[in-house]
Symmetry: C3
Subunit: 356 residues, 3 copies
C-alpha cells in the first residue's frame, strides 16, 4: 500500500478522526514522523512530544486528542498503531513463484501459489502449502509439512517430519527437528530421536532458535505462541497456546508449559516440570520446580515476585548484613560476659553469699 | 528395518524374552505404544503404566517382568531401549551420492561413497571421508577434513582447516572454526586467529552451536564428547573426552576441561581455567576458578553441591533473615540498655553503694 | 606473505631488533614456536618459558630482552604480536570474483572487484561494495548495502534494508535485520517491524549472533564495536562506538549503550535502559537499571564492582550466616531471660527488697 486517507484508516480500524483529513503513506515515532506519516502515543512518558510532532495525525486516547492538530482517537492506541503498521508494512523478499534454481524433490508437493527461492531445498514427500514462502538456503526435510501462508526465512531448517501449521513464521537460521540431547549408559550411546516437532497455527519463531524433535512422540509449540531469537526448546517439551518466550530462554526436555506463559530473557527451566497456565517468569530466572497457574516468579531459584523483589533489594546488602552480624556477635559476647558477671552476683552463689 | 521378532531382539541385545514371541516394528512410550511396538520401563515413577500398556513387550528389570504379559528382561532397560531404537531409527535425508548441484572445488577430495547434497560447498583441498554425508547449505572450507561416516547437517559450517574425526555429527547451523574473539590495544585491533578446530571421533554437536578456531594452535573437542544446541566454545579451549555440555553453555577462551565433565544448561565458564576430570557443574552456574577433579558444584559463584543446595534453600529467606537481623539488633540494644542499668547496679558503683 | 626478515618486521612495526637477523614465516606460542617463527611475551606469567623457546625471536618489553637470544623490543608486545600476525594471516576462502552459481538479482549492483561465492543470494537493489566478499549461503536481502571490503561469512543473513559500513565482518550464521519481538494486545497481534539495522564501519560480528531490525527507525551498532558469538541485540537498540560484547550477551529492545562499553559473557540487559560511556559489566550480570558512565558493575542485580566482589565472597557463606543468626537468636533469648531475672533482681522489686 502506498497511501491511505486518515478517514479511511479511521473507518477500517474503528478509530475516530478529529481534525483535517489527508492522505498518509506510513507510520513513525512522534519525533521522527513527517507530515505524510501517522504517529501514536501509547506510553504516557512521551506525552511532551505531542506538541512538537510534525505527524499528519496521532493515534491516541481521547484525553490527549486536544493536544494535537489531528487525532485518531482510539481505545487502545498501541494495538491500533500495530494494525496501522500492518496496512503499510511490505513483506520481505523480492521474488515470486517456484525458482528453477531451488531443489524440489520429485516426490515433494509444492502448491502452485507458493514461493520457493533459489537454493531452497525441499525433500522427499514434503508438502509446501498455498501461499507459503520458502526463502533461500531454507531446508525442508523429507515428510515435512509447511502450512498455508507460512514462511521459512533464509537458512531456516526443518528436519524430517516437522509439521508447521498455517501462518507459521520461522526466522532466519532457526532449526526445528534437530535431534534431542539423549544418550544412555556409560559410553553415552546415542538414543535415536525418532519423534517429531509440531508447530501449531500462527506461531512465530525468531532467528537462530532451536526446537528439538522428540525422542519418541512429539515436541509441540501451541497455537499463537511467539518465540524470540536464540531460544532453546528441548525434546518432548510441550508449550501451550499463546506463550511468549523472550530471547535466549532455554526449556529442558519433557517440560510441559501451559497456555499464555511468559518467559523473559535468558530464563532457564529444568526438565520434566509442569508450568501452569498464565505463569510469568522474570528475566534470568532458574526454574527447578513446578509452578502453579497464575504465579509470577523470578530469581535463582525462582520464587514469588514479591519475595524476589525483596531479594533483589537485599542481595547487594549481604556484605552489610555480614558486617552487622559480626557486630551483633561481639555485642552479644560482651553482654554474655556482663550477664555472666551479673549471674555471679544474682544467682546461687549470691544466695550462698546470703547464707554467709 | 521394518520388523523384527522379539526373540531376535532379545538375542541381539542379550535380553531375556519372557512371554509370547511376535514381530514388532517400532518403539514407543508405555502409554502410546501399540500392539506392534516395544516399550520400556526405565524410570520407576511410570510403573503404574505397566498395567495399561498395549505394547507387544516391555523392556524392564526382572522385578517388574511379572506385571506385563510379555517382558524383555534387561539389566539396564534404558540402555537396551536406546539400542532397540538404534535398530529401528531411519537416518535423516533423502538422497545419496554426490549431487551435481553441489559445489566441489577442483582440488577437493570426496570419497566416492560419500553423499554431498545440492547446494553444499566443499572448498579447495578439503577431504570428505568414506560414508560421510554433507547436507544442503553445509560449508566445508579449504583444507578441512571430514572423517569417515561423519555428518554435516544442513547449514553446518566448517571454516578453513577444521578437522573432524570419524563418526562426528555436526548439527544444523553449527559453526566450527569461526574466528575467536581477540583484539588488542586501545583501537581493538584484530588479532588474526590462525589456529584451527580439531573435533575427535564420535563427537556429536547440536544445532547452532559455535566452536571458535584457536588464535594460535588448536581448539579441541575430545573423543566422544556431546555438545547440545547453542553452546559457545571459545578459542584455544580444550574439552577432554566424554564430556556432556547441555544447551546454551559458554566456555571462555583457553579454558581446559578434563574428561567426563558434565555442564548443565546455561553454565558459563571464565577463561584460562582448569576443570578436573569428572567434574559436574549445575545449571546456570558461573565458574570463575579452577575446579578439582570429581567435584560437583553449582551457583554463582560456583560452590560445592552441598553448600549450593543450602544456598538455594536460603536465598529466598534473605528478606526473612534481614528482618530477624533488625529484630536482633533492637533486642540487643534493649539488652545493652538493661545491662547498662544492671552494670550501674552491680559494678563499682554498687560496691560504692555497699560501702555506704 | 610467506617470509619476512626480523629487521624488516621491526622496521614496519617500530620495534627494535636486538640479536641476529633472519627470515621468519609465522608466529606461535613460546612453547610451540619453531626456529622460523616469531613468538611473544605479553603475560608475565609465561616468563619462565623464555629460556626454553626455540623461536627465532621474541617480541617483548626491553626488560625481558636479555633473557632470549634474539628480541624484538616493543612498548606493547601484545599489540605488536597482533600486528605481526596480521602480516602473516591468510584470509578465509578459496575463490575470487562473482560466481555464475550465485544468485544476483537483475536490479542488484555488485562491484566488479567484489567476490560472490556459489549459492550466495543478492536481492533486488542490493549493493555490494568494492572488495567485499560474500561467502556461500549468505543472504543479502533487497535494498541492503554492503560496504567496501566488508565480509559476509557462510550463512550470514542480512534481511531487507540492512546497511553495513566499510570493513564490516559478519560471522557465519549471524542474522541482521530479522524482525524485532513486538506484539500488541491480548491476541498478540504482530507489530510489523519496518525499521532497519545499520552497522557502522569496522564492526566485527561473530557467529550465530542476532541483531534485530527496528520496529520503526534504526537499530545501530557503532563504529568499531565487536560482538562475539550467539549475542542477541533487540530492536531499536543503539550500541555506541568501540563496544565489546562477549558471547551469549543479550541486550533488550530500545536500550541505548554508550561508547567503549564492555559486556562479559552471558550478561543480560533489560529494555529501555541507558548505559553510559566506558561502563564495564561483569559476566552473567543482570542489568535492570541505567548505569552511569565509567562504572564497573556485576551481579544480579548489577551492583558496583566492590560490592559485587564482597557479595561473591559472602554468597557461599549464607548458610553459615543463617546458622550464626539462629545461634544469636538463642543467645539473645537466653540473655533476655537472664536480663529478665536480673531485672527482677535489680529493678523496683530489688528496691522493694532493699526496703525490707
Amino acid at each position: 500500500m502506498t497511501g491511505i486517507t486518515l478517514s479511511d484508516l479511521a473507518g477500517r480500524l474503528g478509530m475516530l478522526l478529529r481534525g483535517e483529513d489527508r492522505e498518509v503513506t506510513g507510520v513513525n515515532t512522534l519525533s521522527a514522523a513527517g507530515p505524510d506519516q501517522v504517529s501514536f502515543l501509547a506510553n504516557p512518558r512521551y506525552v511532551d512530544q505531542l506538541a512538537g510532532t510534525r505527524a499528519a495525525a496521532v493515534i491516541c486516547q481521547e484525553r490527549f486528542a486536544d493536544r494535537v492538530a489531528t487525532a485518531l482517537i482510539s481505545a487502545d492506541p498501541y494495538l491500533d498503531f500495530a494494525r496501522t503498521l500492518q496496512l503499510f508494512a511490505r513483506p520481505q523478499g523480492c521474488l515470486e513463484g517456484v525458482s528453477g534454481q531451488a531443489f524440489i524433490h520429485g516426490e515433494a508437493r509444492v502448491d502452485p501459489s507458493a514461493t520457493v527461492y533459489p537454493f531452497a531445498f525441499v525433500g522427499a514427500r514434503a508438502e509446501i502449502g498455498a501461499g507459503a514462502r520458502v526463502f533461500p538456503h531454507a531446508y525442508v526435510g523429507e515428510d515435512c509439512r509447511v502450512g498455508r501462508d507460512s514462511v521459512l526465512y533464509p537458512g531456516a531448517v526443518c528436519m524430517a517430519g516437522t509439521i508447521l501449521g498455517d501462518r507459521v513464521v520461522v526466522g532466519p537460521g532457526s532449526v526445528l527437528g534437530a535431534d534431542g540431547f539423549g544418550f544412555a549408559g556409560p559410553g553415552a550411546e546415542k538414543i535415536p530421536q525418532v519423534g517429531v516437532v509440531v508447530v501449531e497455527d500462527d506461531v512465530e519463531i525468531g532467528a537462530n532458535t532451536c526446537i528439538d524433535r522428540a525422542a519418541l512422540d512429539t515436541t509441540r509449540v501451541g497455537q499463537g505462541s511467539k518465540l524470540d531469537n536464540l531460544v532453546q526448546i528441548g525434546h518432548n517439551v510441550t508449550l501451550g497456546p499463546g506463550c511468549m518466550l523472550v530471547a535466549q530462554v532455554g526449556v529442558s526436555g519433557s517440560t510441559t508449559v501451559g497456555s499464555g506463559v511468559v518467559m523473559a530473557g535468558q530464563v532457564g527451566l529444568a526438565g520434566h516440570l509442569r508450568i501452569g497456565d498464565g505463569v510469568t517468569i522474570g528475566p534470568k530466572s532458574g526454574v527447578a520446580k513446578d509452578i502453579e497457574a497464575g504465579r509470577t516468579v523470578g530469581g535463582i531459584p525462582a520464587m514469588d515476585r514479591g519475595a524476589y523483589l525483596r531479594y533483589l533489594a537485599l542481595a547487594p546488602k549481604l556484605p552489610d548484613m555480614a558486617r552487622r552480624m559480626r557486630a551483633l556477635e561481639k555485642e552479644v559476647e560482651r553482654l554474655k560476659a556482663l550477664a555472666g558477671q551479673g549471674a555471679d552476683q544474682g544467682a546461687p552463689e549470691q544466695g550462698d553469699k546470703d547464707e554467709q
